[in-house]
Symmetry: D2
Subunit: 295 residues, 4 copies
């Protein structure tokens, strides 16, 4: 009927306009159909091979980070995370070691030949971060801290951008565009769970966001299984799901002794757990170990 034809024309035009808008975005696959490969000292994210990023929630001491780095190295990892500036709900919780933490990360990264990733929380610290880090992380709470995004877009250093606590996928893509619009296209997107009514998990891992982000943008997409679930017993199955759904990699937390960790003690793996996690991932056929590659 006439009414339906009319409707179809509307819908199509509407979609065309949205399409145009997306085409204009620098991070959009329509603008740039090829995958962006972020090369971090030789480890290529987004290039087809899937990688793991692991490390402690917070940098607590040289010894702690040293122990973790040794373990990651043994498992064939090349990328280590660790928080120096910790955004915490309460001002009276442990706020991280700050620049001291960055220095520890730098020293360890040189000792083991690992690349390090750490969160920066304010524009004024971005320049400092460039000296110490291989990847600048922007956390969920700061996904729409636009001044921070612009500052990270103005330096020549890869940025791992986490999805906001309740950001839509569209807002997430636009946040990445803030970085790219300032000249820095080395961006890794990271799904880390969204806030929903369900309380069995700390957040709800939005697994469908991964293929959508891969379709809409040309950027590598990671999944942080630790913050998505907040439960140690779910790290392995959700990591498998992330790899199966097409993520470029998985991020997780490892600590020498989670029970005494200064933050997130309930969700970090200790070394035997991490070793078992790696073995199971490899056994599932979903992850190809890089252990031999490091020998």
């Amino acid at each position: 009927t006439l009414q339906h034809l009319f409707k179809q024309i509307f819908k199509a035009s509407l979609e065309l306009q949205e399409d145009d808008h997306r085409k204009a975005l620098l991070v959009s696959r329509k603008k740039h159909p090829e995958d962006t490969i972020v090369d971090i000292n030789g480890t290529k994210l987004g290039g087809g091979e899937q990688h793991l990023i692991a490390g402690p929630c917070s940098v607590e001491s040289y010894e702690q980070v040293d122990a973790v780095a040794k373990e990651l190295k043994a498992q064939g990892l090349t990328l280590m995370r660790g928080g120096a500036y910790k955004p915490r709900t309460s001002p009276y919780d442990f706020q991280g070691l700050g620049e001291e933490g960055l220095k520890i990360l730098k020293a360890i990264s040189e000792k083991y030949g690992l690349s390090v990733i750490s969160e920066i929380v304010t524009p004024g610290d971005i320049e400092k971060a460039v000296e110490y880090l291989d990847v600048i992380q922007i956390g969920a709470r700061n996904m729409q801290n636009f001044e921070l995004l612009k500052a990270a877009g103005s330096v020549n250093k890869p940025v791992l951008l986490k999805r906001g606590l309740s950001a839509t996928i569209e807002e997430f893509i636009n946040a990445a565009e803030y970085i790219h619009s300032k000249g820095n296209g080395n961006i890794i997107l990271c799904e880390r769970g969204i806030r929903t009514y369900e309380k069995a998990t700390r957040n709800t891992l939005d697994i469908s966001a991964v293929p959508i982000l891969k379709q809409e943008t040309h950027l590598p997409v990671f999944v942080d299984v630790t913050h998505s679930t907040g439960r140690r017993d779910l790290l392995l199955p959700t990591a498998k799901a992330a790899l199966a759904v097409g993520a470029d990699g998985v991020m997780t937390e490892v600590h020498p002794d989670p029970a005494v960790a200064l933050s997130d003690s309930a969700q970090q793996m200790d070394f035997p757990q991490f070793s078992e996690f790696m073995n199971q991932l490899e056994l599932s056929g979903l992850y190809k170990s890089k252990k031999t590659a490091t020998k």
Copy 2:
């Protein structure tokens, strides 16, 4: 202080009770550590092997169901879904063929040797359903229609119970308990996405629910990728994620000509798409084709 001691004893007792309560649930793994295997005419759900359930959103005609059944058979499937009673938001939308639809399903199931699954929406229809169906489905909108649950629990027929639109995992488990408490323990749980703020997908697939349900209960757990995402382009990646995370199977919608479907036209696969979906699943190594088994 005394008050606090009092409070602590209170709380502890509460928790003990909750623990006891969970232990007491018939569907709980604490009560019954072994996996329940639901045997549907020889197809074993929950027994380690993963299965697919497919079919049209609505039963529209004998010819439509016949065409779908032939295609499913060719792909090695043994379980077909199809809606005869359709719960629709508006009273003026297509409400399904009703008993006529059940008859079509029965006839086709006999012709092809497929088992059929269809939703029943009111207690009064449960007895009738037993004659026509191999599995009674209880849909998301009726997950807390307790009279329907009790009626389904009183017959000797497997029940596929979908998670409610915004049901917590705990409420979902308790809904299954309503069925089991009436004597019917042949229950299949089905995650089908939850309602969140994100609108890029029709619902948000809560992939973490699968390992939690497997831990907490002894029942088979399926994932309906069609209703979770509402997007044809996400069926394959989310099906992979579901199989990788440990689901006992995946449910999806197939229609000879989705464009003219009387419901859910945007999310059903046509036959070439379904064939490609099956091939890709098999190629991923996550799904073992049952084609040879049917020769």
Copy 3:
């Protein structure tokens, strides 16, 4: 520019279509601009005057309901609620007295000249309900139990329809349409809080839903402050908000001794609390006491 003109035409046409759809609904104000007034034995809901509905969560005994009725009468109320069939998350929780509860309500209603409202949970009980009740309630969990809606639409008895746990306003309106489409236009809508991530309250009272429902439909709109908040300390402020925002009335729970109540003990008021609640509402100028009217 041309593009914007284009866009405007699309949007307008889209809106026209939606408008047409809404115009078609029997419950829509576009179809029927005048307010529907539901007359319950002389108490007129939706006619400009605001009313209270109160009573125990569950009917527990004749004595309990008798005590509540006496108190309501003293406070000038004419409408009493009380649950006979209780939809409970667990099959092992108190499920209500059933028909015995309806009989108690009927007896008390005659003794005190109060009208009674109670929830019916399955189509098979609707006819029975007509004998005992003045208003049939359909609860949140059954808002999309379409067979129940149709059954309630087929009898000549006012229906109080609660919004589903996570129903959109559009779904809520369509649920009311299911009732009206069967011939029964005496419908009262009741906002009762929606499910969100916030856990400080049991649900999140969606206060904006009230003016939207008043605009979109011609039906009376109530707010259930008890289930919205789940907190006794929030009943008074949210009742004030409901009356100020334009609701036709407020529903709340009163029990002779909430501490021993068989359900919802944490959120019901005892008699002194209820008396204070009524006094404060009257003092605020937002509620006109009907005490004198009953002398």
Copy 4:
């Protein structure tokens, strides 16, 4: 059993700590039972009298702000809002006039004797803001930008803190604590709607948050009805609800010509609409006009 006793002692201690923690918060009513009154050039927020804050979404020009200020003055208002730095989803949307906007606000505030409120989005701008503004606003997207909170806590200027897009009430209170912990106790909390599945409104106004915040803290609490609803037709009923529920005031947006506004055109009132809004609020008895007081 022993294990359970152990667990109970643990839990109880945890709870004791939480209680202690809340008691320890500077913003907590347990720490400081009296209401904090924030005095802005003589207008006292939190002192029992309810106030309105209004103004354009964005500062666009001297003439625009001048026109609004004149209208506010005529309506008896003393507090004007206006955005100079605009946090926008897309980097290609209007980002505000920046410091130029602050200068316009300052000039107009002096001309009309109004106090001005504007959002600051990065720590580096806080000191500049102190020169131009009477109240520093921290927006929803920056509620957990902890460096910004600390910077705002280090100056001697009232801060209006908006609730985050999906912040819990507890997180909101802790964000205020970040400000107070640095020495600045002149904080106004502002509920502005939370993100839920419901799309009939831009956000869902969490009206219950107001009495909870008044109970838990000693700070003034406002409701931003414009961002809560995103709908001009809901501003009046929700403003009434806010005043009735016990808010210390209401914030809303007014623009000389909303249709050409550079942001939020669909939700700002023009002058005749604002005048009618003020009249209706006064007529409802919920708001006491300050017009005479300004003569």
